[in-house]
Structures are given as C-alpha cells and as structure tokens.
C-alpha cells in the first residue's frame, strides 16, 4: 500500500509555507517535508489534522491510497 499526497499542491494554493503548515498541525517541518515527498505515512489523526489545515473536507482530497500488487 502506498499513500500518495496532494499536500504540496494544496499548501501552495493556500499560500502556506511548510513551516506554517507544520505549526498548524503541531509537527516538525521535517515531517511535512517527508510527507510531501511521500516518504512517511501519517497516522489517521495527523492525516485528519492536515486535511483540516488545508481546508479540505475529505482525507481522500489530500491523501490517495494506492494498493500495490
């Protein structure tokens, strides 16, 4: 299972920096970088926080789960 994300695109649309988003969801900036680079899969709670911070209604608007064979 791979989690793809639209975080970078949505964050830039909102004119937010990585640090601003990190402060809003209470994580380190490095965690936002890892999430945007799809190197780290967030917990359900963090994915929910990010969805809210990026003014999205559904988590699927930010994170896309891709099943691997």
């Amino acid at each position: 299972m791979i989690i793809k994300t639209k975080m970078t695109e949505l964050r830039k649309k909102k004119d937010m920096t990585q640090q601003q988003l990190a402060d809003k969801v209470d994580v380190a900036r490095q965690t936002i970088i890892s999430l945007e680079q799809e190197k780290y899969n967030p917990s359900l709670a963090l994915a929910h926080k990010i969805t809210k911070a990026l003014s999205q209604k559904k988590m699927e608007d930010v994170f896309i789960i891709e099943e691997t064979a």
Binding site: D26, P42, L46
Partner: protein
Amino acid sequence: MLGKPEWFQRRKYGGWGITPKTWQGWIYIAVLILPFIIFQSLPYWDNNTRFIVTLIWMAILIVDVIDIMIHLKRDEREKMHEAIAERNAAWFMSIILALGLAYYAIVNGLNGKIFIEPFIAIALFGGVIIKSITNYKLGKKN
C-alpha cells in the same frame, strides 16, 4: 525547572540525552557548568565540601535534564524514529552482553569455576523484565 525543553533537541548522533537547539540552550549549559568549573578550580575548599557540592550539582543537573527530556516536544514521526533507533541500540547491546556472559561462563568453566558476571546477568535479566512490563502495559493501554 531551570531549562526549557524548547531550547533543546534530542541527541540523535553520538549517544543519548539532549543537545542545545537555540542560543538559550548554550547559555543554560554555560550558566550551569561554568560556576562549577570555577568552584572546582579555586583552592579554598576542602575535599568534603567539594564532594558535597559536586553531589548537589550533579543531582540538580540530572533532575533538570530528565525533566527537559520528558517534556521535549516530538511529533509522531520523530517518536517513531527514536523508538526504532533505541530498539536497534538495545538489540546490539543485548547481543554483546549475551556474548560477554557466554565468554565469561566458558572461560570460568575451563578454569573449573562456576561464576556468572553479575552486572551482565542483571542487565540482561533486567532487560527481559522491562520488556515484559512494557508489553503488558501497552497491551492493557491499546
């Protein structure tokens, strides 16, 4: 306490503990260590006074560092990284301790003695107990 957690970060490389993140962290170290060095370098005190002051100073330092470490802010990714690093370190140390225990047991056995290095045995046995308690508590919690 004396130091604030936001002045420090977890030591990732070169051991355990904390390392300064901001200038306040460096000031904290200087303020805590310099008076002690000055105290120790002055010739006015007898050995008993030096011993008592060192004991009090170390107690303050240890309690404060533990307090800072407990209150250090870490997000879920950082906690996961820390847990994996600690697990790997614990595995390495356990293997070396087990090898050490076996080595001493064999060497003593060849010399006709039955002796198990107590510190190594306590470390390994203590580790087993801590692991069991942790798993039990985690199982109860979630």
